[in-house]
């Protein structure tokens, strides 16, 4: 191949890439988002295990019910049939709403992690910080996905978090910390599931992945 023909070939490849970049871009974006949400949930699970290792039994009694999570008001599909019927943009907005709802509470958790009355508080602290970072990047990624999907409406639900303190005594602080974390663990699983459904919906070109 001569130099000129090589150059032409390269230019052609680049142009093809540019032309098809939209579809490819969304797939890759969702792939990346799924990876991030997967990591998010894994972190929360390991945090829960760390907390459970030295949890006082009385705390389990004191634990608030999961329906007390501040995101419980959000209506999400409960099973697979319902979930598969939800359109993509709604799924995306659900995921984004949940994600947005947790930025403040995670900040609170992060600030309280270092002063927990728990032997593993250092590990917990570092993992909580990592959680915060991941949430931020996932939020940014979902913004891109949203822009890419050309949704007509942006119906994000507002799920405010009013609590600004975990408690006065160390036990209640620990219990509240655990409770908040459990709420987050569940919500992160929801986000992960929705994004993976979205991923497979968009990846028509790569059926082997789904």
């Amino acid at each position: 191949m001569t130099q000129g023909s090589r150059l032409c070939f390269a230019v052609a490849v680049l142009m093809c890439a540019f032309v098809s970049i939209n579809g490819v871009g969304l797939n890759d974006l969702l792939e990346r988002a799924s990876q991030l949400s997967d990591k998010l949930h894994s972190l929360s699970t390991s945090l829960t295990n760390d907390l459970d290792s030295h949890f006082p039994p009385v705390g389990r009694v004191m634990m608030p019910r999961p329906s007390m999570c501040h995101t419980s008001s959000l209506q999400v599909p409960n099973d697979k049939d319902q979930a598969l019927k939800v359109p993509e943009d709604e799924l995306l907005s659900l995921a984004r709403s949940l994600l947005l709802a947790w930025s403040d509470p995670l900040a609170l958790l992060s600030s309280e992690a270092s002063s927990l009355a728990h032997p593993e508080r250092n590990t917990i602290d570092s993992k909580t910080k990592e959680l915060q970072e991941n949430i931020n990047s996932l939020g940014a990624g979902l913004e891109h996905v949203f822009n890419k999907m050309d949704s007509t409406s942006d119906n994000l639900s507002s799920l405010p978090f009013y609590t600004n303190s975990l408690g006065q005594d160390k036990t209640s602080r620990l219990v509240n910390f655990h409770f908040l974390l459990s709420c987050f663990r569940r919500d992160s699983h929801k986000i992960d599931s929705f994004l993976k459904v979205l991923r497979c919906r968009a990846a028509k070109k790569r059926p082997e992945m789904c």
Binding site: P66, N78, A83, L84, D192, S193, K196, E208, C210
Partner: protein, 606 residues
Amino acid sequence: MRNSGAMLILTFIAILTLQAAGVSPPGKPRLTSCRSPEKETFTCWWEPGGDGGLPTTYALYYHLENSETVYECPDYRTAGENSCFFNKNDTSLWVNYNITVVASNALGKNISDPVEVDVVYIVQPNTPEHVTAVVVHDEQGPFVRVSWEKPRTADTRSGWITLLYQLRVKQEKDKEWEEYNAGMQKYYNVFSLHPDKEYMVQVRCKPDHGFWSEWTQTTYVKMPDYITRERSLWIMITIFFVFIVLILTWTLNVKRNSVKLCLLPAVPGPKIKGFDKQLLKSGKSEEVFNTLVIQGFPPTTDYDNLLVEYLEVYDNEEQELVLDGKDLSEDCMKSKSPSDIDSGRGSCDSRTLLLEKCMDGREGSGSNQHQYSQHGETRWASTESSESQGPEPGSPESANGRGKTWPVVFSSPKPQPHHHYPVGAAKPAYHSVPEILNHLSPHAMPSNYHQLNHQDIPQQEHRFSKPACRHSQSYNQFNLDGVDTPAPGVPPSPSLEYVEVQRVNPENMLLLRPLSDPNREPEGSDCTREDYSKVKEVTSNNILLLQRAMSHQCVDDYSQADQCTTQQPPHPCKPAVHQSNSGMPQEAIRVMGNGYVDSTVLMPSY
């Protein structure tokens, strides 16, 4: 009334009897696990606590986290004994189930501890299906390709559940499995399996957040018998290198001599002529070193007289002192100016000997010589010239009566102890050289004959002596012809003159010739002294006639300025060799006896 009482008593007695028989209410059941294979349904299992001897029934009750409505298990059969199966309709995700099991029998019931379950956290898929392992023949060698399918119930296509696969391989005899992660794909290539061996393969899967499934049934695969290309390549390389090494070894062996020469060049051993190593080893060092001694070295008798290049420099003061009592050399000395164009030069530099005195024959210079020798005692002369008194003891020439007077350049030590120069007497003051030259009267005629006594040399070991510079060895030749005329008239003036060694006679005597010798042979090196000008003639007006002609003319045209005649009458100068007046330009420069021009003579005499 009486009947109810009797009934109670009977019942009580019956219970007691039954208890004595070993029956009791059921034990407490325990929920062992709940699992969901596809995130759509789930099953819970419990274990009974003991039936108490009576048939016991179990019932599972649950309620959701946000309601108080208690439901009972919809399906006790599908999942087997002591299980409860929740189908799709009864399964809700992201909701906590509060489940309890109640065991009841005729005597009572027992309730298990409640268990909180969220379905999404208890996902454990079924095993993968249709595992196949085939041998694929590749150009790089055969490998095994394992492929499988997803468990039937898992819905990965919609993305509802994401499965990750894992396989493991081992031979029958191995203890440990070799595990490989296949990710989300449904095939895997296994390399590096040994040929002609049978392997077992198993696969399992796991959801992204959940539990590993069970391993599949073992699939067997047999590797074919083959030689890896890599091994054959290594074999070939090894053979090749062995071959090369063999060839190199053989070559080195054949040429070991030249190799040895190349690597270990011969180091010349010390070879000392006459040195016998055996003698050294035997320890007789005297014999060894005796052989090293060369007879006749250092040359004591042969070359003594050749050592003429002594730089003896007189100190001014001493010289003055000595000179005061000398009537011989006074005038001559005074006539000389302190400047000397040769001052400071070593004896090797000068090509002629600087004689201490300008004297001619021995006859008239005997006493002078004596005096001069005394001078020599206290002075360091540029040459070892010292007055010889008469015939030298070892100088046959003097005894020959040839008429040669050989002034001794080196004072003979044996008969004249005063010839020895005291070591500390004179300071080698170089500035005194011109003083010495002052001695050299203008009539330092060619009739100054000097003899270098060879025997004198070894005696003068205390002198400051330089080894004779061969080139500067000068000689004086006494020319019989020229002797007669100048000889008688030569006053033994204590002047210094450069002499040349002409030759060495068989008697080990150096034949000297003053540089001013007109009869000097052409091979005298003086003749090539172009930088110096020779005085050809001195006119009556004390004007020197310099000659410019070289070579052979030097011999003939040499003329001496007869200054002594003008200034120092007591010193009979050598009869002027009135040489040719070839009309050389007259220059008012006085010439000294040796041909060097001394312009300072023009100064008024001191």
